[in-house]
């Protein structure tokens, strides 16, 4: 094996084989997820059905795959990719390893929006809920920006105003919940996160927004590394730091708001997945952003599989699974890699 000391060169900053590997991982996990359940589907038959080859599933099994399991797995993948990617981007932009997608009050705003939808709208709940939570999230983020005033001159002031806006929204939400105790259950189950109501319509609209947001983020991802330096250093390396931050935060918030309105508050993905990928690859560069998206998608598809099957026929909230599995796993990586300090 060639060693660096004899060659006098360095290994590449990012190994794209890792990205290819994470594509394969997502494909494998996806097939696994749609094959398991109360009725098990055959691996090969699933692949044949998906590629339109003869010898695939038919009848009820086909309906089960196409109408139930596939949209659910796809929605889980989209939400996982959105949360993991925006988590990684927020961590870079705010130079804070603890930053997560629910920062800037996005989650609390979405929660408040959803609560208003659930408590005030009687009838067509599920068509209104995404719109309300989406508007709530965007409004919360705008208010955080407005309060912080300086915008990005001081990343921490934006973080702090986000926390304040989040607390306020949560307080209003709790108040509404208490006033309307009859709707406590649906609000609660939405907050814990759920993918049970996945359907093709939901997959379609969330995929549009998430696809736009992730395309923007992955396009600017290479330059994002410059935001980990001081603004002057970034500038000297050819970056306009403030413009880049605005693009990154808007796109990441769009991804988060879509994810939240599609599936409720699913915690921990935005922190665990980026740090997991960085810990394993020993690289912090945002060239790994696509990999983080793919691993995030795989993570949530697996978590949803767990949520569906562990207590079958009952379902666990997916947020419980992500935290239950994610937290200890994350701590092990953190301890091993000593990412936090010396």
């Amino acid at each position: 094996m060639k060693t660096a000391s004899t060659e006098s060169t360095l290994s590449p900053i990012w190994n794209w084989k890792i990205t290819a590997l994470s594509f394969a991982l997502l494909f494998f996990v996806g097939i696994l997820a749609v094959s398991f359940g109360p009725v098990s589907l055959d691996f090969m038959k699933i692949i044949k059905t998906l590629f339109g080859l003869p010898g695939g599933l038919n009848g009820q099994e086909r309906t089960l795959l196409i109408d139930l399991r596939l949209p659910r797995a796809l929605l889980a993948a989209l939400v996982g990719a959105a949360l993991a990617t925006s988590g990684a981007v927020y961590q870079t932009v705010f130079r804070n390893p603890l930053a997560d997608p629910y920062l800037l009050g996005a989650a609390a705003g979405a929660g408040l929006g959803a609560t208003i939808a659930i408590t005030s709208a009687g009838a067509d709940l599920y068509s209104l809920l995404p719109i309300f939570s989406f508007v709530g999230a965007i409004l919360a983020v705008l208010v955080s920006f407005f309060i912080s005033g300086k915008f990005f001159a001081e990343p921490n002031s934006l973080l702090l105003s986000g926390i304040a806006v989040g607390s306020f929204a949560t307080a209003v939400q709790t108040y509404l919940q208490q006033r309307n105790s009859s709707s406590l259950r649906p609000v609660y189950s939405w907050i814990l996160g759920e993918l049970t109501v996945a359907n093709w319509q939901k997959v379609a609209w969330s995929s549009i927004y998430i696809f736009i947001a992730l395309t923007i983020l992955i396009t600017v991802s290479k330059q994002l590394d410059g935001l980990m330096l001081t603004d002057e250093e970034a500038y000297s390396l050819g970056i306009n730091p403030n413009r880049l931050r605005v693009i990154a935060v808007v796109a990441a918030t769009l991804a988060t708001a879509t994810a939240v309105s599609a599936s409720g508050l699913i915690g921990f993905v935005g922190i665990v997945v980026p740090h997991l990928v960085r810990g394993i690859t020993h690289r912090v560069t945002n060239r790994g952003l696509l990999t983080i998206a793919l691993v995030g998608a795989s993570f949530l598809v697996l978590a949803d599989l767990g949520a569906r099957t562990l207590l079958s026929p009952a379902e666990l909230p997916i947020g419980v699974i992500t935290a239950f599995v994610g937290a200890p796993f994350f701590l092990v990586v953190l301890r091993k890699k000593r990412l936090v300090s010396k």
Binding site: S8, P97, K222, D225, E233
Partner: protein
């Protein structure tokens, strides 16, 4: 003459405060110019204005072009308080210096060789897989210089490059900067230690409360009586047998 940085009527306001006032001067390329002066004199702001990242009124032209409009300029900036990215390895950190040349997200094979070479030169080779957060103050300063070196800039701006270092490392870093100058790079730095500034820089600009008080060759500036008044007569200038000046603070009664 285009090979100078020409500053005319430069004024910088931060909020309601005028941090720099009516500065007009020329800085020659290929030389080491040092900005000295008490804290709050506006040295760092001046550096940022020279970089082009600080909004200013007046004009700063480098080889005839206004600096904030010139995006092709290759200027390295070494801050006094760098942002040290958590989880970033030394090789990733130094490689960032190639981003403008190779394009962000790409790195050429020759860049990887150059980075290895510069890591050897700065004594960091072998540490390339360590996290930058694990480096000592001296090692971090060398990593910063290494990143500036691989950028292959035409101008390097250094904000207090020696402030965090012990005497031995100060000299090591300054010698590295001098290497840059030998390669034809223009150097503008701020420095607290006027003695060190006089040892290395060819030109010294003394600043006070946002104005330029003195501007000339190191020798002229060090021996000028106005230098003392810039520091409110709180310094003494001695000359060693070798002819080298030493500036020390006066003890207050």
């Amino acid at each position: 003459m285009t090979s100078v940085i020409k500053v005319e009527d430069l004024t910088v306001r931060l909020g309601s405060r005028e941090v720099l006032r009516d500065i007009s001067l020329e800085i020659e390329h290929g030389k080491w110019t040092c900005l000295v002066g008490p804290n709050g004199a506006g040295k760092t702001t001046f550096l940022k204005a020279l970089l082009g990242s600080q909004t200013y009124s007046g004009s700063i032209t480098d080889s005839g072009v206004e600096v904030f409009k010139n995006h092709d300029r290759n200027v390295a900036f070494v801050p006094q308080h760098p942002q040290i990215p958590i989880g970033m390895s030394v090789s990733e950190y130094v490689m960032l210096g190639r981003s403008k040349r190779d394009g962000w997200g790409n790195e050429s094979t020759s860049s990887r060789k150059l980075v290895a070479q510069i890591l050897k030169l700065t004594g960091l080779f072998g540490m390339q897989n360590q996290f930058v957060t694990q480096l000592s103050g001296g090692e971090m300063q060398r990593a910063l210089i290494a990143r500036a070196l691989v950028q292959e800039p035409t101008l390097i701006l250094l904000d207090e490059p020696t402030s965090a270092l012990d005497l031995h490392h100060q000299i090591a870093v300054l010698n590295n900067i001098e290497l840059l100058k030998e390669r034809g790079v223009t150097i503008i730095s701020t420095m607290h230690d006027i003695t060190l500034a006089a040892m290395y820089a060819e030109k010294i600009i003394v600043m006070q409360e946002g104005r330029v008080l003195l501007n000339g060759s190191s020798d002229e500036v060090i021996h000028s009586p106005e230098l003392k008044s810039a520091f409110e007569n709180r310094i003494n200038v001695y000359t060693l047998e070798s002819g080298r000046p030493v500036i020390v603070a006066k003890k207050e009664k």
